[in-house]
């Protein structure tokens, strides 16, 4: 309807999502709660920092899926393959630029990481576009078929990775200056994890700004809540869908790169391995909510670390327990998005 009104207000101030603080408090509350049980403060800091870093990496891998899930209402079991693909794409850079990885220069090393990320995002973005067209589009609206077809797409793409790069695991070296740890007294922080935290935060803040401060972000948010309305307003929701799918795949590629350097081995199944975790995280956060995905990732990783230390037997199912508790509290995740 009033296109002009919407536009003029868009220029002055875009309506922002209301902030719900309660779930955000969960993280510090959890960390504080764990402190007396862990006992030693230095162990606690180590566990917390490790958990935060792990959470960031999970977030990087999951953030794309929550958008795709939320906006397009597509259960993409194939998301994991973009993680693998992004990881393997690093080989395209590491091959010719192997010297950069050995060089003991932070600049070169970070440059290499940056190049890897860009390449991976490019590759996964393109494959994502193809995946959307060939595999996902025929099954819009049918969730069960989506599960099966995207799973089939995942297997095929995994086989493609096998065909291109071979079935054996491929070791990849972490750039020289990212190895080792910062040591502050009793507290140890792996350097790479610190890098992961920084990249995770940058991506998170970037996504928040994009979603909350830009026109396209407004459209995406509106699309998550009510796609028919966005379409009725004259926007081509299809094009929006495709771009979000590509962006989601590229984000998975980014997550894949970070994950690959962390594992330092590439296997075609590496993406599939984390999929259950990724699903749990986006369910905890609320489908379509980037902030929820962020909080959920950190929550799951922290709980895994604390529980692993305090009551190891429970650690194996800690993520499922967290999911169950959150869903009992809020059946649509920490940050429910209106439509579902």
């Amino acid at each position: 309807m009033s296109d002009m009104a919407a536009q003029s207000s868009a220029q002055t101030e875009l309506p922002r999502a209301k902030t719900d603080w309660l779930p955000l408090l969960l993280i510090p509350a959890l960390a504080l709660l764990a402190l007396p049980f862990v006992g030693s403060p230095s162990t606690w800091v180590t566990l917390t920092v490790a958990g935060l870093a792990m959470g960031m990496m999970i977030f990087l891998m999951a953030s794309g899926l929550t958008l795709v899930f939320g906006l397009m209402d597509i259960i993409n079991f194939g998301h994991g393959v973009f993680i693998s693909l992004g990881a393997y794409a690093t080989l395209l850079v590491l091959g010719p630029l192997a010297g950069w990885a050995q060089a003991d220069s932070l600049g070169l090393n970070l440059g290499l990481l940056g190049l890897c990320i860009l390449t991976a995002m490019g590759v996964t973005g393109i494959v994502g576009a193809v995946f959307e067209r060939v595999i996902v589009r025929p099954v819009y609206g049918s969730h069960l078929k989506q599960i099966l077809v995207t799973m089939g797409g995942l297997i095929v793409t995994e086989q493609l990775i096998h065909a291109i790069w071979g079935a054996s695991p491929i070791p990849i070296p972490l750039p020289q200056s990212l190895r080792g740890a910062f040591v502050l007294g009793d507290i140890v922080m792996e350097r790479y994890r610190v890098v992961a935290v920084i990249i995770g935060l940058v991506v998170f803040i970037g996504m928040q700004l994009l979603l909350n401060r830009t026109r396209i972000g407004l459209l995406i948010r509106a699309g998550v809540e009510n796609p028919e309305m966005v379409e009725a307003l004259g926007y081509r929701i299809r094009r929006l869908f495709v771009s979000v799918f590509i962006a989601g795949s590229a984000l998975a590629g980014l997550g894949g790169v970070m994950w690959a350097f962390y594992r330092q081995t590439l296997t075609a199944g590496m993406g599939m391995e984390v999929m259950v975790l990724v699903f749990i995280v986006i369910i905890i956060g609320g489908l379509g909510s980037v902030g929820g995905c962020f909080v959920g990732s950190i929550l799951v990783a922290l709980v895994a670390n604390y529980v692993g230390f305090i009551e190891p037997k429970l650690a194996l199912i800690s993520n499922i327990l967290v999911m169950a508790l959150v869903l009992i509290w809020r059946p649509q995740g920490l940050f429910p998005v209106a439509r579902r």
């Binding site: 030693s40 566990l47 070791p171 081995t265 190891p312 650690a315």
Partner: protein, 380 residues
């Protein structure tokens, strides 16, 4: 209606054909001696299956060059068991028994697949030659299983005893993966320690595929472990020692077979130095018999052999010899031939006991300069 009638009958016919029509297709040609192999050809374990298959094919080549089996060329019929999938293994073994009429089957390799299929083959229609290391595999009273590797007990005992003697510590912690391999390992190690009157200072587990071991390592540190025994897969073991090094922990590490595998060594880098493990096969073993095998394998496949290729190379050689010595493919006679045989293979000098265990030795390996080096060979 006619369309549907026709479609129905076509469908019924197709189903019947698909299900039953292959009965004739798979019968062995009489010109060859056929044995079976149940290996993970597809799925996440396919890499293991490839090595398995390469080992078998190298052996078949040699056997046939030397005159084959019972005067006829040896042929191995492969069926996919998808590794640790009991249903796939049941179908594979059943098909090899019923359709290929194989008197001997190489594999299934995974303990769980072995246990699932023993009810089927132990009635005496066929013999399974496996390298599954789970203890129950030869403890269930099955007379028709032959095992070419030491069981988990052998591995664990050799490792623990060596570590205690060499490192002179009883402050031992255990990190194990929460699957059949890890669980089995933990119960072995604790039992062995228990017999020596020691309690492990900490026992930790993790899920297969886990990447962050901060919690487990922190507990090891707090418990004051001087030696940590890892009973887990190569990837996870690599990450454990690497993260321990980055956290500045200075305990020693020992591990199952995986801690001398190439993936582990590459992944762990410097942190792998000094890690001790028990392994049936390392290609760096200077033993001339092993070096000869390594050369042949490299020449054929342009890659280094690893444990599964070697194990099933041996298994194939053993099976062929047993059939030849029995002079028949009658499973009972072949089984009797196994019992009488003495065979020098790549993994060990085989001598079969009543329960089917044919290999009672293992190497203790330490990573030195980025290579697994055999320190000693333990024989039980």
């Amino acid at each position: 209606m006619t369309f549907f009638t026709r479609a129905t009958s076509t469908f019924v016919a197709a189903t019947v054909m698909a299900g039953f029509g292959l009965a004739a297709a798979g019968l062995p040609a009489q010109a060859q001696t056929v044995i079976g192999a149940s290996a993970p050809l597809t799925g996440p374990r396919a890499l293991l299956g490839r090595n398995f298959k390469q080992g078998v094919e190298l052996a078949v080549e040699e056997i046939n060059a030397a005159g084959g089996v019972l005067g006829k060329p040896l042929q191995v019929a492969f069926e996919d068991d998808q590794g640790d999938n009991p249903n796939a293994a049941l179908n594979a073994v059943n098909k090899l028994m019923q359709v290929s009429k194989a008197p001997v089957i190489l594999g299934p390799h995974y303990s769980v697949a072995q246990l699932a299929t023993q009810k089927t083959y132990c009635d005496g229609t066929t013999i399974s030659v496996t390298s599954a290391s789970g203890i129950p595999v030869t403890a269930g009273g099955c007379k028709y299983v032959i095992r070419v590797r030491g069981n988990d007990e052998v591995q664990a005992r050799a490792l623990v005893e060596f570590a205690r003697k060499e490192l002179k510590t009883d402050k031992i912690g255990i990190i194990a993966v929460a699957d059949d391999m890890g669980r089995g390992g933990v119960s072995r190690i604790t039992a062995i320690l228990d017999a020596a009157g020691i309690k492990p200072v900490a026992v930790e587990s993790h899920n297969a595929g886990d990447k962050d071991f901060s919690a487990q390592l922190s507990r090891m540190k707090n418990a004051g472990a001087a030696l940590v025994i890892m009973w887990t897969h190569d990837n996870e073991a690599g990450l454990i020692v690497r993260q321990a090094k980055q956290l500045g922990l200075n305990m020693r590490f020992a591990g199952s077979t995986s801690a001398s595998e190439p993936t582990f060594i590459k992944l762990a880098g410097d942190a792998a130095e000094g890690v001790i493990s028990a392994n049936d096969f390392v290609p760096t073993n200077p033993d001339p018999r092993i070096q000869a095998f390594v050369k042949k394998y490299q020449a054929k496949y342009n890659m280094l052999p690893e444990i599964w290729a070697s194990a099933y190379y041996d298994a194939t050689q053993l099976a062929a010899r047993a059939i030849n010595e029995a002079g028949s493919t009658d499973p009972a006679k072949v089984r009797a031939a196994f019992a009488k045989m003495q065979h020098d293979g790549v993994l060990a000098s085989y001598r079969c006991q009543d329960n089917g265990d044919c290999n009672q030795q293992i190497h203790i390996v330490e990573v030195k300069g980025g290579q697994p080096m055999v320190l000693t060979t333990v024989k039980f």
